[in-house]
Amino acid sequence: MQPIIEVTDLTYMYRSGSGKNVLALNGVTMQVYRGEILAITGQNGSGKSTLARHFNALLTPKSGTVIVDGLSVADKKNTAIIRRSVGMVFQNPDNQLVSSVVEEDIAFGPENLGLPQAEIVDRVDWALESLNLGAYRHRSPNSLSEGQKQLVAIAGVLAMKPQCIILDEPTAHLDPKGRCEVLENVLRLNRDEGITTILLTHFMNEVVHCDRMIVMDQGQIKMTGTPRDLFKLADQIKALGLDLPPASQLAHGLKLKGLALPGNILTLEELVNSLCQLP
């Protein structure tokens, strides 16, 4: 598979408010493949946001390289093109919506790209439809639920027709229902539109649905692999301050109690099936 983003030996340091130097990324090397959905997980402060912000040139490498679709992030001339191809959705929907009208907010990105008016209208209609937001197009984001607001934010990025969308803890502020809504839509966009998706999260039942996962800690990548392979390693995951998905956690506990379950259970259905097949 062809990588769309290639990170080589990336290091990033910043000065904190109290004047200390913080090493946020320490020698990170990784790839994001076209069309995949990749989860990046790790405790707060593990460096996952800092890493993701390099992918659309919000940060530029202090050392090492980040290549997006063949273009180096370090070169300022590439910034506009990179931001066109890599969109980003943030944690708090209130702090990323600009306009007081849903459809105008979704138009914000395409307007910034200087597209012709007819094209903007088409894209806004398409983005609204893709995320089932048509009914809210003339509403104010303030009147929507947090989950719906986050969908508006995703629609705003989608309308820019990026090749890749980064979602930086998009569900951390949402209630369980909103989390479900957002996750379902993200998975569907990845499947139907083929948009490469990078999901930053610490909800393991979201990670379960991803093609690949990366676990970060203290600015370094500690684990890379498929969720099925990595969640077998319960002790390592826990040592990095993360939970297992509930089903894996149950399976792990039951195995310790002597039940002969397979090690790579991810969902409740799999767990129940395995339990029922026990002799």
């Binding site: 910043y14 000065r15 904190s16 408010g17 004047g19």
Partner: protein, 179 residues
């Protein structure tokens, strides 16, 4: 003149606070005078000037002025020359005072910026209200003293505390305003 994204966003959000203080009436501190209350709605403009420079101070003041024109809290603010025009200067003056005195001591500079910024608001608004004939000069002077002085004190203290507080959450290089 060009405006960075940073200046646009911070002016907008400080402007929102100004409007908010007006619509919730929290921007009014009851002062023991017959005329009612002193205002702190101009504090965001002062902060804009001190923290982000004269342009942000000017725009924040303009939003404050425009809003008090569209939803006037006192009758003569329906006159744009009284509501909008004087507010353009609050943040700019605060910036100039801060810039001129920060070498001596930044705390002192904040106190002076807050006080002079506040006085700018009081003097220009009442001055325009007098020139435009809404208030006789005697009344303006007494309102100026009764309201202007407590406003000035509150603005000076709030500026110091807020500037110090906000700087704690920001990386160092962003902490001096760029003109």
């Amino acid at each position: 003149m060009s405006l960075s994204v940073r200046k646009i966003v911070i002016s907008g959000i400080l402007g929102a606070i100004s409007i908010l203080l007006g619509v919730t009436r929290l921007g009014f501190i009851p002062v023991p005078t017959p005329a009612g209350h002193a205002t702190i709605m101009h504090i965001p403009a002062i902060l804009g000037g001190v923290l982000e420079g004269p342009v942000v101070g000017l725009i924040t003041g303009a939003i404050f002025g425009l809003f008090s024109f569209l939803q006037p809290g006192a009758p003569f603010f329906a006159d744009p020359l009284v509501s909008i025009f004087p507010r353009l200067f609050i943040g700019v003056v605060a910036y100039l005072v801060y810039f001129a005195t920060k070498r001596i001591n930044t705390v002192l500079a904040c106190v002076l910026a807050g006080a002079v910024g506040s006085a700018t608001n009081t003097i220009l608004v009442l001055g325009m209200a007098t020139i435009r004939g809404y208030l006789p000069s005697e009344v303006s002077v007494s309102i100026g003293v009764l309201h202007g002085v407590p406003e000035l004190i509150v603005a000076a203290i709030l500026t110091v505390i807020l500037v110090k507080g906000i700087r704690r959450i920001r990386p160092e290089e962003e902490n001096e305003p760029q003109p």
